[in-house]
Amino acid sequence: MAAQLSIAKALNEALRKSLENDPKTLLMGEDIGKLGGVFRITDGLQKDFGDSRVIDSPLAESGIVGTAIGLALRGYRPVVEIQFDGFVYPAFDQIVSQLAKMHARALGHVKMPVTIRIPYAGGIGAVEHHSESHEAYFAHTAGLRVVSPSSAHDAHWMLRQAIESDDPVIFLEPKRRYWDKGEVGDAADLGLYDARIVRPGTDATLIAYGPMVKVCLEAAAAAEEDGRRLEVVDLRSLSPVDFAALEESVKRTGRGIVVHEAPVFLGMGAELAARLTERCFYHLEAPILRVGGYHAPYPPSRVEEAFLPDLDRVLDAVDRALAY
């Protein structure tokens, strides 16, 4: 492939390839047919694969996920789109109590190859319920896998890998990055659950995923002007977490800062900080710090910039880490 694509287009191509490669793969969701989804991620797919494989569903999130479970039981590989992050909650029971547990309850006799795509997180000036980061709910649930790409290449290949997985995968698409372009290579260069060092450095490790990877890269570039060499690790998978890669990096730099949009309290950062502290204690020069959202509802868009971690908040944390 080796083409410059937007993340949106890379996802679209991944869905197309998955539909081509496996006749059991189906897409379901609201407005994904003629409209191509509100973000156009499924653009043109219904035209090419027909409305029995690219299915406009009734407006019922529990119904979308619940029927996907039934289709998986019948041997299909459903890929469902939740229109926006904040609308997945009506399907929460079907995801955490049904989908996540079916394989275990059947003692392994049935598989649940269901992918749930969710455009998530903020930064696009949207109205309420269109900017939520709910990854911790899903990563907290055993039986689910949770991943989030940050580049066009990963968006493409991670989605294809997610669809091929026999486990349910929550696939979080950083919606404010949909239009960012990048090179999409012609093969997956990493496993779906591997972290990637996106910028090597020696003074501290910034750990991020999804929309915050770009912010961290910008922060690292700015810090370099002050002579600080920051390593940036893109987590890519939130369950499982590639702790080996994180541990290696943090032991090397002696400092770790986790950055995400979701509220800090009981978020991914809490888990990463706790585990890295256990594993790297004698290598640490500073506590693992966290930068993220406040313990408040996602705010109205005119003040979302204050809620979202930006370059300055990340650099501020770097200062604090280096001051120990």
Binding site: T67, G70, Q94, S97, A106, H109, M112, R145, P240, D242
Partner: protein, 384 residues
């Protein structure tokens, strides 16, 4: 195929009585489809004809008796501390056996937690059902082996799984159909209503089989609905039928019709089996706090087993030896269930880590290794 409309059922209603007033209650409902009266009289229904051989009638009787026996045994085992909980089907045998026997091999059932009689008809080993109530697993059987899905405890969730499965049948161009079981309480859940919508707009071959046993724990059906439940279907654009849920022949005939209707591409059907939960909701429940005993007494007169036995005896279709042989078989079943439960081994604690995921997951692998090491430290005496 003609669509059974609710209008026909309404036509048979007693004149002058608004339907809404006859929605629930425990009196005999005029609009019930019935083929066998509580006194054991065989009656014909123009829309649901059923021919039965003496062998078939005896087989249905056997099912009813054995299912009741299994259920009674499980209740007893709970009392003896062998099971943590039991949800008895007492009184609902006809609804379950009638609908269960209407299914073909390729059809698929999605139960709640009380469908022991349907499991029996699907030839699922009754001991499999007890694992969950004993606490050795959360389901445990391979649903695809007998096309009987795992029990679902979250009320109504399985109706969507059934609908999705049925949508898959349509995509496969297969000749199968699905039954989704749920209760009158569950009919209020969003998932059930979403399942109705999906099934209707995609013409999915699914029969929604609501056992209206009059109660959802302590709440009567009047807390869930102001219209007879079968009439919900018309709002979603498919037929609804109310059947005498204590009449195994009517349940068989109506479900067979509904499954054929669904498998022929006509879309879903809602069946409301009008029945009664004779026992407690589960072994943890105390129905004396909310349910008048006269009500339970009145339903006793409609017992599904006595009425079929009355028919068999009246028509001379079964001799005393037959009833004795069923009794003996029932003793055997009781014995097998008792022994099976008491000797059911606890799983190895590492079961916790088995099958969390289909593919390897580093966190689970790590925690399993930690646990195994920790457990071994006791054996080695390190922690003594």
């Amino acid at each position: 195929m003609t669509v059974k409309s609710t209008a026909r059922a309404r036509k048979k209603a007693a004149p002058g009585v608004p339907d809404t007033l006859r929605a629930t209650g425990t009196d005999t409902q005029p609009e019930l489809v019935q083929l066998l009266t509580p006194e054991g009289e065989r009656i014909e229904h123009p829309d649901y004809p059923l021919t039965t051989t003496p062998d078939e009638l005896r087989a249905l009787y056997r099912d009813l008796v054995l299912v009741r026996r299994f259920d009674a045994e499980a209740t007893a085992l709970q009392r003896q501390g062998e099971l943590g909980l039991w949800a008895s089907l007492l009184g609902q045998e006809a609804a379950q056996v009638g609908s269960g026997r209407a299914m073909r091999t390729g059809d698929y059932a999605f139960p709640t937690y009380r469908e022991h009689g349907v499991a029996w008809c699907r030839d699922v080993d009754p001991l499999n059902l007890l694992g969950m109530f004993r606490g050795v697993n959360h389901g445990g059987w391979d649903p695809n082996e007998k096309n009987f899905h795992l029990y679902t405890i979250v009320i109504g969730a399985q109706t969507l799984h059934a609908t999705g499965y049925a949508m898959g049948i349509t995509k496969d161009g297969a000749d199968d159909a699905v039954i989704a079981y749920f209760g009158d309480g569950a009919s209020s859940q969003g998932d059930v209503n979403e399942a109705f919508t999906f099934a209707s707009v995609y013409n999915a071959p699914v029969v929604f089989f609501c056992q209206n046993n009059q109660w959802a724990i302590s709440e009567p059906t009047t807390t869930q609905t102001k219209i007879p439940l079968y009439r919900r279907a018309s709002g979603f654009g498919f037929p609804g039928v109310r059947v005498d849920g204590n009449d195994v022949l009517a349940c068989l005939a109506v479900t067979r019709w509904a499954l054929d209707h669904a498998r022929s591409g006509n879309g879903p059907v809602l069946i409301e089996a009008f029945t009664y939960r004779m026992g407690a909701h589960t072994t943890s429940d105390d129905p004396t706090r909310y349910r008048p005993s006269e009500e339970t007494e009145a339903w006793k007169a409609k017992d599904p087993i006595t009425r079929l036995r009355a028919l068999l005896e009246k028509e001379g279709l079964a001799e005393e030896e037959f009833f004795a042989s069923i009794e003996a078989e029932s003793e055997q079943l009781g014995l097998r269930v008792r022994e099976g439960v008491r000797t059911m081994p606890d799983p190895d604690p590492t079961l916790i880590f088995d099958h969390v995921y289909a593919e390897p997951h580093t966190l689970v692998d790590e925690e399993r290794a930690e646990y195994v090491e920790y457990a071994a430290s006791f054996e080695a005496g390190e922690n003594l």
